[in-house]
């Protein structure tokens, strides 16, 4: 049977991906340019026995998804930069309490209200460092409608598997552009559910590391009782200030992602084998970069594209290898220098680094990237 196809906006594809992954709860507050994610789910979630709530604000929205997740549901919220800023306190809470949830950020400019209808990529460091304290972060950066669908599914998988918030960041351009998407059949994409306890309720500890770095999570209402707090806690979930327990817990929470980096990391490379100049680009900017690579190759300039699809954890090893092989890495991004800092840190001076930033609400076009490559090489 032919697959179901449709012309969808990236935001609509995101909502469809969430449904495919088994999302059963959306709590949000509408904000341009992400609103279509909420709009679609407000119609579709009730049809599959899910719940949709428009909360009083973005903070309440984040609180609602944490609560819903603790009842065993797969949960989603969608917003844009100003909303992500408001959610930071509770994103930290989801990190320390280890509550699976997916946060969509359809990026516009900033800071503050910025330019609501223009695209931006200036929240990429926020995705890692937005909330205070040491914490692991996973952020995915799809670049097309089809990929928004599949990466939303993967975001749910990673959130459930590692018991943590996962952010999916794309910009207004892919969020609002319409492209053809093929709906995967059920079973075609992997769908992962969280580990639930196998022990009896009276033996259950919500942070029991005897099961590994990701302890099974019981659903409220399933007969298991446990304590949830934003304080550092012992394995039973109750607060502790005991130095060794606090240290263990903090290190474990970083380790669970560090140890799984190879599995979480996802990159695409285009003509990097012999590339003298590698363009490091993500999201919609990577599409301009790919266009630029083709044009540069026609002129005999050996350019290639490295496109992270998982932005955090950062693909350190591969970027370091490319820095050793290439003469230069060029980083175009719709901000004034964010991921270029990571590229510089990892390249350790092994090659030249060129930066191209744009924050006027217009996309970085291929011509700008071509000019930058020629200038740097």
């Amino acid at each position: 049977m032919a697959k179901k196809v449709a012309l969808l906006q990236g935001n609509e594809a995101c909502a469809q991906g969430a449904l495919y992954a088994g999302c059963k709860f959306f709590g949000g507050y509408p904000i341009t340019p992400s609103t279509e994610v909420a709009e679609v789910l407000s119609v579709e979630l009730p049809k599959v026995g899910g719940k949709f709530i428009q909360m009083e604000d973005e903070i309440g929205a984040m609180a609602s998804v944490i609560g819903a997740s603790l009842t065993g549901s797969k949960v989603l919220t969608a917003t844009s930069g100003p909303g992500v800023s408001l959610k930071q306190e509770l994103i930290g809470y989801a990190c320390i309490a280890e509550v699976p949830c997916v946060i969509i950020n359809v990026m516009r400019g900033g800071p503050s209200t910025g330019m609501p209808t223009g695209p931006g990529q200036s929240d990429v460091q926020q995705a890692k460092w937005g909330t205070h304290g040491d914490h692991a972060a996973i952020a995915l950066v799809p670049a097309s409608c089809q990929e928004i669908f599949s990466e939303t599914v993967r975001a749910f998988n990673l959130a459930e598997k590692y018991r943590m918030p996962v952010q999916v960041l794309f910009d207004e351009i892919v969020g609002h552009s319409r492209e053809r998407i093929e709906f995967p059949e059920p079973g075609e994409l992997e769908v992962i559910d969280r580990q639930t306890p196998t022990v009896a309720p009276e033996q259950y500890k919500p942070y029991d590391t005897s099961f590994g770095d990701v302890p099974p999570l019981a659903a409220f209402g399933s007969g298991y009782r446990f304590h949830v707090t934003g304080l550092n806690k012992a394995q039973d979930g109750f607060p502790t200030t005991k130095a060794s327990l606090v240290d263990d817990e903090q290190r474990r929470q970083l380790r669970k992602v560090d140890a799984a980096q190879a599995e979480i990391e996802k990159n695409e490379e285009y003509l990097t084998d012999d590339a003298e100049v590698v363009i490091f680009a993500y999201g919609s900017t990577s599409r301009s970069a790919r266009y630029a690579v083709n044009e540069l190759r026609k002129e005999g300039i050996k350019a290639g594209l490295f496109r992270p699809i998982t932005l955090w954890p950062f693909p350190e090893k591969r970027v370091a290898e490319l820095a050793k092989k290439a003469k230069a890495i060029v980083v175009p991004e719709m901000n004034l220098g964010q991921m270029v800092l990571e590229v510089e840190r990892v390249a350790k001076g092994d090659c030249k680094i060129g930066f191209l930033g744009r924050v006027d609400g217009e996309p970085i076009n291929p011509g700008q990237i071509i000019a930058k490559v020629k200038e740097v090489k």
Binding site: L7, P33, T117, G118, I173, V174, H176, R178, E179, R180
Partner: protein
């Protein structure tokens, strides 16, 4: 069909030009199985002022999703003509609503014009289908998709009560331009 074909629909917010772009993208990508990306200018200026919708069609995957240099442009109002009828390829085409665009944009492209909105009003009694007249005209002008694919996409989008009206509007626009091209 070229490797990458770019079409821009421009006019006033509320004239249905974003819908026209979506229908063209559906004709190309869902009905004809090509690759297509549709996007629109999306901002405060889209409320009543000049608005635009762009469609890129290609036989292969489309990397840069915005227009680079457009092959064909439609302008339904003077403001949109002033603002968006630029960056047209050498040898490209520009279609104007001759009632509203009095000051023609100049450039190395061919200009076609007819009173698009008035045609919808006088011939069909419904100004609201001017966007579908324009869509038929743009498809005739460019051959970006087949006449049949365009019509099928139009009919897939409209409520049943308006099928006949939209079918006529599409055919009207298509034939008007075919005459102008003779």
């Amino acid at each position: 069909m070229a490797e990458r074909f770019e079409i821009r629909f421009s006019g006033a917010g509320g004239q249905g030009l974003i819908t026209a772009g979506i229908i063209l993208a559906e004709a190309a990508s869902i009905i004809e199985g090509k690759h297509a990306v549709q996007s629109q200018s999306y901002g405060p200026e889209a409320r009543g002022g000049a608005s635009k919708s762009e469609v890129i069609i290609s036989d292969g995957p489309i990397d840069y999703p915005k227009a680079t240099i457009v092959d064909a442009c439609l302008a339904m109002t003077q403001e949109s003509a002033d603002k968006y009828a630029n960056g047209i390829k050498e040898g490209g085409v520009l279609l104007l609503d001759s009632d509203f665009v009095k000051k023609e944009p100049q450039g190395d492209f061919k200009v076609y014009k007819f009173p698009i909105t008035r045609t919808a009003k006088d011939d069909l009694g419904r100004e609201i289908v001017a966007n579908v007249v324009a869509l038929g005209a743009m498809i005739a002008l460019t051959g970006a998709v087949s006449r049949e694919a365009g019509e099928k996409a139009v009919l897939a989008r409209v409520p049943e009560a308006f099928l006949e009206l939209n079918k006529k509007a599409y055919a009207l626009g298509y034939e008007k331009v075919k005459e102008l091209m003779k």
